[in-house]
Symmetry: C2
Subunit: 135 residues, 2 copies
């Protein structure tokens, strides 16, 4: 049933596309996921949780998430500075989706390992022990 472009109501963009633009960044889903698991995280904690991210990207990503009202930035004017990030209600609504994605990903990784097991035994152990530390 595709009731589209009725003049009376605003034209709907592709909601999937819209949503993906909001959380499609390289680290966004991961950050949201970690924030969900830990409730609240400081800048340095996030930095350590994502070892492969640079300060520039982390700051930039956090800003975008904040601008999109997906996370809340709480700043303490202290010395030394302290900033805490947490999920907003809107961001919270994305958790089931990320959880589903997470489960799917784990399943796919497992299947991939099985498929390559004959020639990649060594790799298995390494891969399995290297997770994001917050699974």
């Amino acid at each position: 049933m595709k009731n589209k472009s009725k003049v009376s109501e605003p034209i709907q963009p592709c909601a999937v596309d819209y949503a993906f633009k909001r959380i499609g960044g390289k680290y966004k889903a991961r950050i949201l996921w970690y924030l969900n698991l830990k409730t609240v995280l400081r800048y340095g904690e996030l930095s350590r949780t994502l070892p492969d991210i640079t300060t520039k990207m982390l700051t930039q990503t956090l800003r975008e998430l904040e601008d999109d009202k997906l996370i809340i930035r709480k700043m303490y004017h202290e010395v030394p500075p302290k900033v805490e990030y947490s999920l907003s209600d809107t961001g919270q609504e994305l958790i089931p989706f990320i959880a589903h994605l997470h489960n799917w990903g784990k399943k796919q990784i497992a299947n991939e390992l099985l498929a390559h097991q004959t020639s990649q035994d060594e790799r298995t152990a390494r891969v399995c022990q290297n997770e994001c530390g917050l699974d």
Copy 2:
């Protein structure tokens, strides 16, 4: 040949990250979504459904999805040529997740329109640029 969608690196950091790499392309989620709604789509139909995609990107994206075993490509050796795309079982498993994302996106768009009703003209133009007629 790019392996953006193929995750075959020795170390796999995080399931969320892994999953996003496989379906995080600019059009992948949308294509999967349309395939779910329509069950089966031909190349030209997809092209018309995504007005903003070029033939190059469409072909490239379809190839990646096929290589990742998320969609099935059925080719008829006829004249004129005919190719049909449909979801694979693995791809099917992603539908609940995309559905959730879709609902979330629709909700966000609605909120955005409400919040910015005063500047509706500008906002509408932006929102409408990716209308997809398959909501």
